[in-house]
């Protein structure tokens, strides 16, 4: 199996280009954030909860202007409290706030989508160049995780348009990860060792990548939740000057929404992670003679699984909801990160496919 050097080269170029586009998107998200009016989120959150759905209490004549069979995005924005008057413009609220912020936001989304397109092409070309699924080493894995995180953010964005400016908080770790991937973790396009030449690679690693990328978005949401939650406690207490990073809280969405984003992404990522572990076990049964052997990678996958299970349980346990649950979520991503960086690079095990020497 020969490597197509030209395609591999093109893939690397596109990878760098997408980092540049993501960085420009990051700047634009920052622009939107900076021009956005302070406290606008608190305003929208102040709409009474009873006005959530259809304000149909007025009697038979008052018909809601938005047809109830509307698609998901407008329905979710309806939950936010603007469904009553029916907003013809998708980002109607931003228009009320101010124009520069909105322009920056739209530019940021455009740059994100362009970057994601380049990124996806880079991944596909890498796969074509080596004629296999392109997640055989840490570089390829990180690149794919970054893409999943961006894609997951785009999905959340389509459902909750008002979190758009939070893109900066997603782009920041994605750019960091991709920078690491392109420098420290970089591995030249090359074929794989026999143990990895299996259809299980596509199944097992795809699940791991999807879960890792989704959990990254969840991690960001929980960090922001903790900031906002602390801000909400400090402000009524009259804590005087609120310092960074808690001061970010003034422009973050209400904590309930951030908590929900964190939960839903874990609720999606957890079954995927569970499946990924099981697919790995089935592969190990075929390759190594046992489905589970407490290899360091397996052990840390198990640790992360247990922590995310604890997160899901904590959310339905009194005294553990909210802040404590968010911390558990951060802990979960800590285990995921440890498993990727430390176990791959420092701890020797059967999963020694880092591609680093």
């Amino acid at each position: 199996m020969a490597v197509n050097a030209g395609l591999a080269q093109l893939s690397d170029t596109l990878f760098t280009t997408s980092i540049a586009l993501y960085s420009l998107a990051l700047v634009s998200y920052c622009g939107e954030y900076a021009f956005g009016r302070r406290g606008r989120v608190a305003e929208t959150a102040a709409v009474p909860a009873t006005a959530k759905v259809l304000v149909g209490a007025g009697g038979p004549e008052v018909a809601p202007s938005a047809p109830p069979t509307s698609s998901a995005p407008s329905a979710v924005s309806g939950e936010a409290g603007d469904g009553a008057a029916g907003s013809p413009e998708k980002f109607g609220r931003d228009a009320v706030v101010n124009r520069p912020a909105q322009r920056f936001g739209r530019l940021a989304v455009l740059l994100t989508l362009l970057g994601a397109a380049g990124h996806l092409t880079s991944i596909v070309l890498r796969g074509t160049a080596v004629d296999r699924i392109p997640w055989g080493n840490m570089y390829e894995f990180s690149s794919a995780v970054g893409f999943v995180a961006v894609a997951a953010f785009c999905v959340v964005l389509a459902r909750q348009p008002r979190i758009r400016y939070l893109g900066m908080f997603v782009m920041l770790p994605v750019i960091l990860l991709m920078f690491l991937a392109g420098t420290v973790l970089y591995a030249k396009a090359a074929p794989l060792v026999p143990a990895l030449r299996s259809y299980w690679l596509a199944i097992h690693v795809t699940a791991a990548i999807t879960a890792t990328g989704t959990f990254l978005v969840s991690f960001v949401a929980s960090v922001l939740y903790l900031i906002r939650e602390r801000y909400d406690r400090l402000v009524p207490a009259g804590a005087g000057t609120i310092r960074f990073p808690v001061s970010l809280g003034s422009r973050l969405p209400e904590s309930r929404l951030l908590d929900q984003v964190a939960y839903r992404t874990v609720a999606f990522g957890f079954p995927v992670w569970t499946f990924g572990i099981a697919a790995g076990a089935m592969w190990a049964e075929a390759a190594w003679g046992r489905y589970w052997g407490w290899d360091p990678k397996e052990t840390w996958a198990f640790i992360a699984w247990v922590i995310y299970a604890a997160y899901l349980h904590a959310r339905s346990t009194a005294g553990w909801r909210g802040r404590k649950a968010a911390w558990i979520n951060l802990l979960g991503y800590g285990a995921m990160t440890f498993n990727f960086f430390v176990v791959n690079i420092v701890v020797a095990g059967l999963h020694s496919y880092a591609g680093l020497s």
């Binding site: 069979t69 030449r197 569970t274 640790i303 176990v343």
Partner: protein, 527 residues
């Protein structure tokens, strides 16, 4: 499990309400309180954390089951710390009593939590949806309209709109008609299926540990083995496996082939074997990485491979040992291998050859060779020849891959020659003995494994995932419609319709569904 928060929300859950520990003495009360504490969600959370925490040393310290040589090395490097770690089972974390204590407590807690939940859920499954709350407009989702038709007719339409829901119709004392509907019972069903599957999975793991076995064997090309304890180089079995009843089969290694990509990456490893099962028929099989041979629950794996250098030794006594070989152990990725060939029958004195084999020899310039590639492009050996007593009959166990250093130290065995040889090259000892390097054989190592719990683990896992998906994606929700005859009763009959909806807090998109239901009922016409 604690259930607090908004009363209406918990009404949608079948979580048992946690009762406060009763005060007072007596062993029964104490035991009951302990049981409640153990089965509480809070304890489960703590145990989950403990489990995660306990697994960490198992990944950072060398583990006996994974790599016994590393444990030995670690103990030599940390003579003070290692005995303490060893006492707490930290070199075998996953078989240690304290690790078992954590997960057994967790599963007891789980079962104790699960039993009442199953009971409550079964009850909820049989029960009709609850009566409509008095004030539907106080629910998180509500609406109110006036529609054409008598209350009875609208109620019939509501039932049609609510197809797929569990619906009950009640006449209220005020004369109004109320329709209660509930949906999403699968959430709790999924939750229960998940947790039951988890216990089954643990049972499957336990069965495998108790009745399973693994054996490992190294074979040179042309050699074979049978599935008996004695023919294995290493063998480990669960306490209930019984060593007598291994599945009878034999296998011979014909040829081992490693193929490489142009850039030197290994592309494929393949061991062509013939095996004979219980029916006595000999069959060929190409054993490869990722494709084991499966025989009635026993599985045969290709684990690794290497080289066995071949020598011909001629002694002054007139003996000729032709093509004697032994597997050499790979020391690096390029298969620089070390090992020893022992000749206890050589006369007048025993001979041992210890050394290094390189499939692609690279001479660093000082006569020390190592291998530059795993492919046999330029095979060579660097050997020391020993003569004297090998010490095989001393009763002291010795490695097959090395000359016993104690024999050398005591002077019973002397190093008499050293040489770097290419195939065909030979070295002559002072007594006239000649040693010729003939070339090499390949060897492959195999593992036989049997795990009778494996299928249960797989099935349990499938249900576990199904339950997980249900419990995370299905939403439990309730929908009520109250129909009151319109006060203005002079024209065609009209009905005031009040809607109310309630979903668990995690429910995304219920607002949408609620709106859709309201809309569909409003659009429905009496025909």
């Amino acid at each position: 499990m604690t259930a607090t928060g908004e009363v209406e929300q918990t009404a949608l859950s079948t979580q048992p309400v946690e009762r406060a520990p009763r005060s007072g003495g007596g062993p029964v009360v104490a035991a009951r309180n302990a049981w409640r504490r153990l089965t509480s969600m809070r304890t489960a959370l703590v145990l989950l954390f403990l489990l995660a925490l306990a697994a960490i040393p198992g990944s950072l310290l060398p583990q006996r089951r994974l790599n016994p040589a590393k444990v030995v090395q670690y103990r030599a490097e940390h003579p003070k710390l290692a005995p303490i770690l060893n006492r707490f089972g930290l070199f075998d974390v996953f078989a240690s009593p304290w690790f078992a204590a954590i997960y057994l407590l967790l599963f007891i807690s789980l079962i104790g939590c699960l039993v009442p939940r199953v009971r409550l859920h079964l009850r909820a499954l049989r029960r009709a949806p609850p009566s409509a709350p008095r004030h539907l407009d106080r629910l998180p989702h509500s609406a109110r309209y006036e529609l054409d038709g008598a209350p009875d007719a609208v109620a019939t339409r509501a039932r049609e709109v609510l197809r797929g829901w569990r619906v009950v119709r009640r006449e209220e004392s005020s004369g109004a008609v109320a329709v209660s509907a509930e949906k999403g019972y699968l959430r709790e069903t999924g939750n229960i299926v998940f947790h039951v599957s988890l216990t089954l999975l643990l049972a499957g793991v336990a069965i495998g540990k108790l009745w399973g076995y693994t054996g490992g064997v190294v074979l040179e090309e042309g050699r074979g083995f049978c599935n008996t304890v004695l023919s294995y180089d290493q063998f480990s079995a669960g306490p209930l496996a019984g060593s007598g009843g291994l599945t009878p089969f034999c296998a011979d290694l014909g040829k081992f082939t490693a193929t490489y990509d142009p850039d030197g990456t290994a592309a494929n490893f393949r061991a062509d074997i013939t095996y004979t099962g219980q029916d006595g028929v000999e069959r060929p099989y190409a054993l490869q990485v990722n494709s084991p041979l499966r025989l009635q629950g026993d599985r045969l794996y290709l684990i690794s491979h290497g080289f066995s250098p071949k020598f011909t030794v001629r002694t002054p006594a007139g003996q000729t040992f032709r093509g004697i070989s032994a597997p050499f152990l790979p020391q690096d990725g390029n298969l620089t291998s070390e090992g020893a060939v022992k000749l206890p029958d050589a006369l007048p004195r025993q001979i041992g050859i210890e050394g290094l084999f390189a499939p692609t020899a690279v001479d660093a310039g000082d006569g020390i060779i190592s291998s530059g590639s795993p492919q046999p492009l330029n095979p060579a050996v660097a050997i020391f020849v020993y003569r004297g007593e090998l010490g095989l009959d001393t009763g002291r166990p010795q490695s097959v891959y090395a000359i016993d250093p104690a024999q050398v130290a005591s002077g019973a065995l002397q190093r008499v020659a050293a040489a770097n040889l290419k195939p065909g090259g030979s070295v002559k000892l002072d007594d006239g003995t000649s040693i010729t390097f003939d070339g090499y054989l390949q060897w492959a190592s195999f593992q036989v494994a049997r795990d009778p719990g494996q299928r249960l683990v797989l099935v349990a896992f499938a249900f576990l995932l199904l339950g997980l998906l249900l419990s995370l994606s299905v939403r439990r929700r309730r929908f009520w419609v109250r129909l009151t005859p319109s006060a203005a009763d002079d024209g065609p009959r009209r009905t005031v319709v009040e809607f109310g909806g309630l979903a668990r807090s995690e429910a995304g998109g219920f607002a949408d569904e609620f709106a859709r239901l309201v809309h569909r009922l409003r659009e429905s016409r009496k025909d």
